[in-house]
Symmetry: C2
DNA sequence: CCATCCTGCTAGCAATAGTTAGCACTTTGC
DNA sequence: GCAAAGTGCTAACTATTGCTAGCAGGATGG
């Protein structure tokens, strides 16, 4: 009985973090250095004993090449459609690799997708969108 | 000894935060309550005296209906194309309002835009040796 | 005129984030 | 066999977060 519920969310974050780290073939010390924190501390974060500050979390996310927001979502701290509604818009608008025109086009497509799904799920309020299931039976012709 | 250098980034975050708060016509206490923090603490954050933890920052961002990532970017803590490269991908993949197929389409378009701009600005293909990057998107035929 | 509610701010304290030093174990090579 | 360097973890400490209690000033209105 090791996991004693330290808010449970922190543990989830730690697990996901460790999963990402090992998947990137990074040792604890390597990631710690890249993220600019000490290795014992990173170890404690992974085991759910500590909650990293915003800055540290950003550094870690950056070192792992993932979004801090995603880190939160995947760790179950933030629900996907909770406060992040519009994160696609923001991500696109904040992208420096796109021209303004391209951003607009992309967002147009995005909006149209959402509108389609909206109209789709409206009569049938069963909106369980399981990844891998790809419920595209009603999806528009692309 | 007055701490002159509070990293300066914190001040920027505070300024942006305050700007957003007043723009939303929220008093300090109102936002503090919505974000689940004490009002003196929020006050200190806005004045750059404190750096909020990851959780608190998320709560504040949520209460203001903005992305924590954007909060960082706008505050100048995180540069837009810095570690957030790929945030569009992540935002799209994390979006619950899209089907898997739509996500794929959107990302295809996104990738093609990037490829276009890449070819435009860099005649000589720059190869960045980033571990675990696995650049799979090489301009899909649209 | 004074009570009451708002605004934001300061002081002081408890909790915890993040540090350095160092332990135990495993692998690598001489 | 054993040094050297890798892995992650523990302990003790300092620095910082985030709290409660309470202050001064401005509106509102009885």
């Amino acid at each position: 009985m090791v996991k004693v519920k330290v808010t449970e969310t922190v543990g989830a974050l730690g697990d996901y973090l460790k999963e990402q780290r090992t998947q990137s073939r990074l040792s604890l010390r390597q990631l710690a250095e890249q993220a600019g924190v000490s290795n014992p501390y990173l170890s404690q974060i992974e085991r759910g004993l500590r909650k990293p500050s915003a800055e540290v979390l950003q550094q870690i996310a950056k070192a792992l090449r993932i979004s801090a927001e995603q880190l939160y979502i995947r760790a179950g701290i933030l629900s996907p459609d909770d406060g992040v509604g519009g994160s696609v818009e923001l991500a696109v608008l904040g992208d420096t690799g796109l021209t303004e025109r391209q951003k607009q086009s992309l967002l147009d497509v995005y909006a149209s997708f959402l509108a389609l799904n909206e109209a789709d799920t409206a009569p049938a309020p069963v909106d369980r969108d399981e990844p891998g299931h790809t419920d595209v039976a009603t999806a528009p012709s692309l």
